[in-house]
Point group: D2
Chain length 313, copies 4
């Protein structure tokens, strides 16, 4: 059957398509995934096939083969990551903290079930241990199965994949320390499993004690667009500031490029020193919002992006 | 089908969904099939999965598992048939001609690859031979595989499935006669494979000679709605009238009910004598259009419904 | 209202479009109205303009100029009536009861704010008084303004337009009797204003006492499709049967055609005797459902079609 | 125009909505504008009303009142600018070239009919003459009417609005020189009016000769996203490089902030020195593409973004 049907196996000889037939069109652009970004805004992308859908204890999950973006992971109705451009997010999440650390050896990933964060971390030759702790076994399993770009990472002996709540896991590992802890979680939505991992108490009682001397914590913190940064981004930033010492970026553009060359296997597609100087310099609107933010994220005073989790009341 | 959600069986322990979990929602209602009925009119139905898509020599084909209609067959972007209500179309296509014939034994189906027309015909105890001739082997194969409601029919020894152009097949069978010939073709669209099977010359030179004495020809003839009947329906009717003797319905409501009881196995869901008297009595708008139609369908003067076939120039 | 309604006048000379310019396309087919028919089924039609939108005490209302259907009235998110085919519904609602009555003079319309039901009634030369009682003044006003096909009816001196709840109005008119009472209401939806006008107590205590000797009550009763008839149609039918004597259609096809000729001005587009014999003969599925229905519609045991009214809790 | 545009005035007393009524919902989120970004990707935003639609000699144009973005200008089916965030684009287009010039007095805008580019330029106290030359009078007129944020700019005596093709206008003004010329054109699409204003010959023969000594030319150059930059952006950049001397940004972050304070009235919302250093530092992907681009934009070798202009063959 090959490329466009849902099966990974030919059903039988009769159905196999001649390789010389023209690319089909018609109905193919008529299957769509529609995501409600906000109540009054949607986007829709055409599908080749539905690779997997499921409802786990925690989340609604799906893996689509989309026409514009390749394979795309959707959790609780929100696009998390897509094959064609996931490198942008994952390079930016992983390399800056690891490169700012003098010699990162042990890394802990909160979430990250897709495997791409682990893949980027494992490119660092200094790293000898990565613990990836995701709550949802089904996500991990089908990403392992379908996302061939991460196969090598999933098979790397330095990687330890744990199915558990990141908080419980970090609390259990009382004697361990990590040089870098990476929060690769879904955005906080009502009814979803992640919002408790953006709170001050979690950062203070659970994350910080697990960092080694000079250790670095980094987390994705939701959308940071010209308006969307007001949803959760500024509030998470302000919460981090209460707990962690602010770490000015101590290395220059040139030093970052040098360390990439020395420590990272292969070539980054997106991130280098110059890219980092651009993406880490915020515009006036967002800078003002960060400056004015006073809200601290707690379980009782959480904020959410637009969406609906499985366990929403 | 394999390990994706298209299977009706649990695939393996890791991925199988607990039977106690609530029905998933969220993303699941966010996969849609969208059909452009006209340039300014669409309808969209939610998908559970894409069971099959393909591009054959003749057509773009797809089988979806839809949320509102069950399994649905789409050819060249147009919904042909859906599990929940296909009985309406197929009972109305098949039973009236067979019941109006005194003793139908041999039946020829032009098209009908889905298998439902054969299923209805094979319910007639008088019938001892059904030839179903569809041009598209892939359609026949996946309908045989997925449409369990037609499995028994596909396995009936009275049924002979032929993959061929219906015109070529009828012309080849020079010595054979059929008591009923049924046209179960897709609507004529530009670039599609069917429009030549709605022409006067086809009816005259190919169909009529294959009917036995007292034989009946019936064909689906496109949409017959308050406006849509003007697309192809009246013109096909007028073309038939040039070639075939008009056969007034010779049997009463009661006689139809009696013959159903005597000759048809099982119980019809939709069609009985009363239903037939209603659906065969046309409204004033359509009657006027039929009365005023002068166009005869020929290859050089074809008409089409809205849509785009694979081989459209 | 101001900002979102539309003027019927050119705003100024500069903006007027040359009459020789080609019909615009592009963006114009990109404005759509989308109606959720059920949770998993939608249809979408392209808009030329939004003529009026508003939120009254009772309902959300809108009048669109649509590309496929001309002007279309939408109440509580559901398409009620469209310019191109409203004659089908209104002819079928009005003429059968009036033609079955020997000499209808006084007619009461519950609802009907659009004006089309009044228009059809006023074609009957026997009629000398029509009371149209709609709860929503805004609907009546913009239909009067925009639906030019009903202008003559709205100006007919035999028509009395009342803004009131139909129940309250009928109860107030204690001494009056009507030869025909027509229910031209929106389908019952949760939170909408109409569902109380489909109940047994309303029919019994309010409607029946206002019918003159030999008077006829007719009501629209929701969708009657192969599946949708189970939503409210069978239940309303069963409720009517508890209250009103069943009136077999006493006149033949030919007699109906004769009375149309004698009593109805102009020519019906859709309804004649033959059409009526077809549309009033139900198919086996619906007949079975009517036969088996036991539910009686009361305020405490109401049924609804899919949708959301303004005052839904 | 008449019937399909919208008045800003209440039509009459009857229709005006009580100010105490709740904001309408229901149908209101059911009117959508749908833009096809690529063949397999769309986005849709909910509409309050269609303020204006038209088809001019050059373009299909529309002004919508959208729910998520306020008023939005759409040309040839593509969203050009929206009330809530147009300041980002316009501040970034205008202020960098004017601030890099020591004393900009005369400015020419190619396109810019919306008025926002003029508004930003007119904030510069050094400027004493702005010529805005747009080909489409209808766009200019309805923007003047509806975009109140630009009213003051349209009335500024320093502004001269010309309806003409920018090329023709620049060629006509043989004796004039401009300190800054701003290209505020729609993206080049097939069949649209703008693509000839992105060519080498236009830059060389028409634009460059009209720049005064030390004059600066700036142009919008299409989307610059991680993939979309390959459509036209790199090619326009490479074309500019053939014609204009590369002007390194000679002023520092601090100097830019100082000049903003000295020369620009009011406060920028988005652009300051820090923002500029970020947005003008490109990521690795885009830098590599710019470095490798060899195509030069000419009329015979044009490139286009996805879309369809009115005069597409």
């Amino acid at each position: 059957m090959g490329e466009i049907s849902c099966s990974t196996e030919p059903i039988n000889g009769v159905l196999s398509r001649s390789s010389s037939s023209p690319p089909p069109s018609g109905y193919r652009k008529s299957c769509w995934y529609e995501e409600e970004i906000e109540e009054n805004l949607r986007w829709c992308f055409a599908l080749n096939s539905i690779l997997h859908t499921g409802s786990t204890q925690y989340q609604e999950i799906a893996l689509f083969d989309t026409k514009p973006f390749g394979k795309a992971l959707v959790i609780d109705g929100k696009l998390q990551s897509a094959e064609v451009d996931e490198f942008v997010y994952h390079e930016c999440l992983v390399h800056p903290p690891l490169l700012n650390h003098p010699n990162p050896k042990a890394v802990f990933i909160m979430g990250g079930g897709e495997g791409s964060t682990a893949r980027e971390i494992l490119k660092h030759t200094t790293v000898d241990k990565v613990v990836m702790c995701d709550i949802d076994e089904e996500v991990v399993e089908f990403c392992k199965e379908y996302l061939v770009v991460n196969t090598e990472a999933f098979n790397d002996p330095r990687l330890d994949v744990i199915i558990n709540d990141a908080r419980a896991e970090l609390e259990k590992r009382k004697e361990e320390k990590f040089d870098v802890i990476v929060g690769d979680l879904a955005d906080p939505i009502e009814g979803g499993p992640c919002y408790k991992l953006y709170t001050k108490s979690f950062y203070e009682s659970t994350v910080k004690p697990r960092l080694s001397q000079g250790g670095i914590f980094v987390t994705q913190a939701g959308p940071a667009g010209i308006f969307s940064h007001a949803e959760v981004y500024t509030c998470i930033y302000n919460t981090l500031r209460q707990v962690f010492k602010y770490s000015p970026l101590e290395i220059s553009c040139e030093e970052m490029d040098l360390r990439i060359k020395q420590r990272v296997e292969g070539e980054n597609k997106y991130l280098d020193g110059t890219t980092f100087s651009s993406v880490s310099t915020l515009n006036k609107v967002v800078r003002n919002s960060l400056f004015n933010e006073t809200h601290v994220y707690t379980e009782g005073a959480a904020r959410f992006i637009y969406g609906h989790g499985k366990n929403e009341l």
